[in-house]
């Protein structure tokens, strides 16, 4: 390209009046051809620009943000379950239901069970007779 043309373009460039395609021309001129020494300083400029446009990010993008949404649902489900649970617990234990038709039989059954319990209690207490002996001996010495 003609030198005078380049100089004109440069002047326009520094006024900020060049178009993108004119700037491309300048870039091509300064990065490929050997330039006269008085324009050499601009070569650094345009070389820098074209070099910088090749820099790229090295780190890959990791998308982990979408997990948050599901946690919100878990919280909501848990609170609903808690409220329902509390409601059920309050109304849960209702009046006892009769298991026997005839009260006579019910009385006898209850007696049977209570007898069984006291029988086991007495069996267990038999072992405690020895303790009485200890008590007696102790009382002999300590009055």
């Amino acid at each position: 390209m003609e030198l005078s043309n380049i100089e004109k373009l440069l002047e326009k460039y520094f006024e900020g009046e060049t178009t993108i395609s004119e700037e491309k021309e300048l870039k091509v001129y300064f990065t490929s051809e050997t330039v006269p020494s008085h324009l050499q300083k601009y070569q650094y400029l345009f070389k820098y620009f074209s070099e910088e446009s090749t820099v790229s990010a090295r780190r890959d993008l990791k998308l982990t943000a979408h997990n948050k949404k599901s946690y919100a649902w878990v919280g909501m489900a848990a609170s609903i379950a808690l409220i329902v649970g509390l409601f059920m617990a309050r109304t849960g234990p209702s009046e006892p239901v009769d298991t026997f038709e005839d009260p006579e039989i019910a009385l006898q059954e209850t007696k049977k069970i209570l007898n069984m319990v006291s029988q086991y209690m007495n069996e267990g207490k038999e072992g405690l007779v020895y303790l009485k002996e200890f008590e007696n001996t102790k009382n002999k010495f300590l009055k």
């Binding site: 460039y13 520094f14 006024e15 900020g16 009046e17 993108i20 700037e23 491309k24 050499q40 300083k41 601009y42 650094y44 400029l45 070389k47 820098y48 620009f49 070099e51 910088e52 446009s53 820099v55 790229s56 990010a57 090295r58 780190r59 993008l61 990791k62 998308l63 943000a65 979408h66």
Partner: protein, 169 residues
């Protein structure tokens, strides 16, 4: 929108987000964080993606705002962090080193520009967006974009000239 579709959509402009945040935050690590953060935010609001006029421009605006917040919190925290990106440069030829050095100077000059000019030059000269797109991304009007662009470019020219003539910036 499915994960795969989202990733293919964002991959078309992910690097641009990274470069913009790197331009503002300087450190590569922080720029990676910023890119990740912006894309995750976009993913969380994926149901709204269809309503955006231009997802890419929207993501760029998000990146700009995110980086501004980062810079602001750093300033208020009275914390001055000097960023260095360590690289193992292959010092093979003297000239190669010199050329690399001169390219780094351009980067350093750009770092000294105000954030707005820095972003505009990044978007225009490196990403090749037109002024209307830049105005939309940065929430400015087009004339202001053109003025800031010209101002930024002229500063770079002056600094380069100084460096070229005296070897100091």
């Amino acid at each position: 929108m499915k994960e795969r579709a989202f990733i293919t959509l964002t991959n078309t402009f992910k690097d641009k987000l990274f470069r913009l945040s790197k331009r503002l935050l300087v450190s590569s690590e922080e720029a990676e964080d910023a890119t990740q953060e912006v894309l995750l935010k976009l993913w969380k609001n994926k149901s709204k993606i269809g309503t955006y006029k231009n997802v890419e421009a929207f993501a760029m605006t998000m990146t700009k705002n995110y980086c501004y917040d980062k810079l602001k919190s750093k300033q208020t925290g009275n914390l001055k962090i000097v960023h260095n990106n360590y690289e193992d440069g292959q010092a093979s030829l003297q000239r190669q080193v010199e050329a690399k050095d001169s390219l780094d100077w351009v980067g350093k000059i750009m770092e000294s520009l105000p954030e707005q000019q820095r972003m505009i030059i990044q978007l225009r000269d490196i990403e090749q967006y037109n002024n209307a797109e830049i105005a939309e991304m940065l929430e400015m009007n087009e004339t202001a974009v053109r003025v800031a662009l010209s101002r930024g470019r002229k500063v770079i020219r002056e600094e380069l000239l100084k460096k070229h003539n005296y070897g100091v910036v």
